[in-house]
Amino acid sequence: MPHFAKPPAGSWTQHYPELGTAPVDYTDSVDPAFYELEKVAIFRRSWLNVGRVEKLPRTGSYFTRELAVLDTSLIIVKGADGKIRAFHNVCRHRGNKLVWNDFPGEESAGVCRQFTCKYHAWRYDLTGKLTFIQQEGEFFGVDKDQYGLKEVACDVWEGFIFINLEPAESLTEYLGDLAKGIEGYPFHEMTSVYTYRAEVGSNWKLFIDAFAEFYHAPVLHHKQAVKNEAEKLVGYGFEALHYELSSPHSMVSSWGGMAPPKDPSMVKPIERALRSGLFGPWDRPAIEGLDPLPPSINPSRSPSWGTDSFEFFPNFTLLFWAPGWYLTYNYWPTAVDRHLFEANLYFVPARSARERLAQELATVTFKEYALQDGNTLEATQSMLASRVVSEFPLNDQEILLRHLHKVVADRVKEYTDAAAR
């Protein structure tokens, strides 16, 4: 017996008939050839989030991104005109990597007025224009205008910086209505950031799968809750308030009545003491823009709403918590069975030790959960790779997974069909 109403079609999944209800083939997560196709069919032609504008506070602020899935390194830089641009991180002279510190494979960040190649000192300005060639007279008819940095499409939405190697549409067209309905959320107020990184031994989609469904939460994480609460949670299982697909993107909206909890004995002592926990500090920050929330957030306008998770295709998750903070996940594939996971937790800057400690508890709790999720994934990957079973039944609460794997398959097919023509 469902605790929350389902669409008239009978289930969220059937509400989107193109999804079907059949078991899903996970060969897409273990086949090296399919991974190569994902790189060209998806990652090279999608808008990918590479950071936020707060990372580029001044003219000349830059950071580099090592993106194995694109087989490139990018420089993202803020120009004197305030515009943010992206370039392939390669010197036009002999292909040396232009910007790096100590270790060429590691990302770096800083502020500069121009980029100078370490190798032969060619210089480029912040718009990518080649401004200086060492011993220019030794070259043969080199026109500096022809040798600027290779630019990559770069645009900003609500402070999130996106790049696209082969754009077919603008960023706002790509992000669509789902994103439109988030605009106005006070991202700019939430500038205190906690960043986490891990190299995970699984296909990138498996980690999205783990975060895009909460069906596992009462089971995998049951030890995290106090005993009575844990038993209650397993008994209920999990049901979302609302799902919405706006292909290729999607979202899930969930209840979350624990901030603050109705019954304080249901939470841990440290949570009672600091008024905080997994769902964040219980007391909302005093900023504008959280009431009312933009229309895409808590779309069912449920009073028991707790969190919304938006999956922006292919690899960007934006997750809002009712108490007034948000986090992002980026999943960067490095091989068919490996990816780099990044999580950023954003809060309104603490004004007191009490607020700082409340944030500390939220971030520590996040890590305890994420470690369990991450470890399970390696186990999953190793068994999927056995190919003993390749089709798996997904339930209605796993609709976002079904959708993700379908969109990936569709895009790859579109690409291979076009290539065959």
Partner: protein, 422 residues
């Protein structure tokens, strides 16, 4: 001057038809492509020993076994009827590894009444049947009967648990053949005091196996097995008996028990503990009738070493104990070696110290093999010498082993001509 008579054909090698006396290629130990072929042709088709019945003593006892060479993990369990079963260790819901503890790639063991997936709480009974689906109503036309654990063929011979990953393998007893199954009456179940070793070794699995199926190297690499006084008296090595049966093979040795050797032929610690390389000197009473252990009926029998295809060895000592080795490939030039030594349970401190001495000496000399064979792998990989390795009559088993591996790969490739690599 031969110590023992050779067969009428003039040599053991020529005694067995089809073995040949030509030079051998070791390409099968250095080729990544050949390794991929072995994975399909051998390790997914042959019966593989994964444990002993003592590993699953009670109803619900289970252990997991990582089989990298077949890219899978198995769970082996004793069900309510006492039958030992094996399953792929994978939950049917989203492919999570079902049984593991803390480290997903580490093996685990325990006892349970049902297997519960850590991820979403699906449960399977000890026969692999799916018995519980969390929020079953959220699924679409899910028939639990269709989603049991994927079974793996599992049979037990003489207390040894074997699995087979093929769809419809021949019965285990048929696979093992008469030479091996004749050992079935040996009292393995009385030898339950156990010392287990494991090592990750940087050489092909067959190279390490080769070292334990010929003793031509012993007087040289392991010269210290003899005391300084005995060393000049040590002849080269000759075995009195070899036998082959299908892909399996064995060698026996003979000689007086070490306890009867002159005292300066024994190390002091051997005298002090009444034990040593060949095992404790106080022999347990295992009964007179030890079928199959000395198929050649040789006099002064000392030990028999059975090599069960592909990767298992049982070495039985006249002094009343045995060794079990298994070689698990992890890549074309690495493998995991598992060695176990089995004795009757020690009743006194002297028994225990005697076992300790035998076990410690086993490791001393196995370390020499392990140390050297990494060098062998490197030497072979140089391909400075290609297909030109001469083997002598005492290396008959090496020859037969590589022939058997090649013939299994050939058979498979003939039946699957498209591709053996995945």
């Amino acid at each position: 001057m031969a110590l023992y008579p050779k067969p009428a054909e003039g040599s053991w090698t020529e005694h067995f038809p089809g073995v040949g006396t030509g030079v051998l290629s070791y390409e099968d130990c250095i080729s990544p492509e050949f390794y991929e072929a072995e994975r399909e042709a051998i390790f997914k088709r042959a019966w593989l020993n994964v444990g002993r019945v003592e590993d699953v003593p009670r109803v619900g006892s289970y252990f997991t076994k990582e089989i990298e060479v077949a890219a899978t993990s198995l769970v082996v369990v004793r069900d309510l009827t006492g039958q030992v079963r094996a399953f792929h260790n994978i939950c049917r819901h989203r492919g999570n590894k079902l049984m593991w503890n803390d480290y997903p790639r580490a093996e685990t063991a325990g006892s349970c009444r049902a297997f519960t997936c850590k991820y979403h709480g699906w449960r399977y009974d000890l026969t692999g049947k799916l018995t519980f689906v969390q929020q079953e109503g959220e699924f679409f036309d899910l028939d639990k009967a269709d989603y049991g654990l994927v079974p793996v063929h599992c049979e037990v011979w003489a207390g040894f648990i074997f699995i087979n990953l093929a769809e419809s393998p021949e019965p285990l007893q048929v696979f093992l053949g008469a030479m091996v199954t004749d050992l079935g009456g040996y009292p393995f179940d009385a030898l339950t005091e156990r010392y287990d070793f494991t090592a990750d070794i940087r050489c092909n699995w067959k190279i390490f196996l080769d070292a334990f199926q010929e003793y031509y190297h012993v007087p040289v690499l392991h010269s210290q097995e003899a005391t300084p006084a005995a060393r000049p008296k040590m002849p080269g090595f000759e075995a009195p008996y070899y036998n082959l049966d299908g892909p399996h093979r064995m060698v026996a040795t003979s000689g007086p028990p070490r306890r009867l050797w002159p005292t300066d032929y024994q190390y002091p610690i051997e005298i002090a503990t009444r034990s040593g390389l060949f095992g404790p000197w106080n022999e347990p009473d295992l009964g007179d009738d030890l079928p199959g252990v000395n198929p050649g009926g040789i006099k002064a029998w000392q030990m028999s070493n059975f090599q069960i295809f592909p990767n298992m060895e049982i070495l039985i000592w006249q002094t009343g104990w045995y060794m079990l080795y298994r070689y698990w490939p992890t890549s074309h030039n690495t493998h995991r070696f598992e060695g176990s030594l089995f004795f009757p349970p020690a009743r006194t401190a002297s028994d225990r110290a005697a076992q300790e001495c035998a076990v410690v000496m086993f490791k001393e000399f196995a370390l020499q093999d392990a140390g050297m064979l990494v060098g062998t792998q490197q030497g072979l990989e140089s391909r400075a010498v290609r297909d030109d390795f001469p083997l002598n009559d005492q290396e008959l088993l090496v020859r037969h082993f590589h022939n058997s591996v090649a013939s299994w790969v050939d058979d498979y490739q003939r039946a699957h001509p498209v591709s053996v690599t995945r």
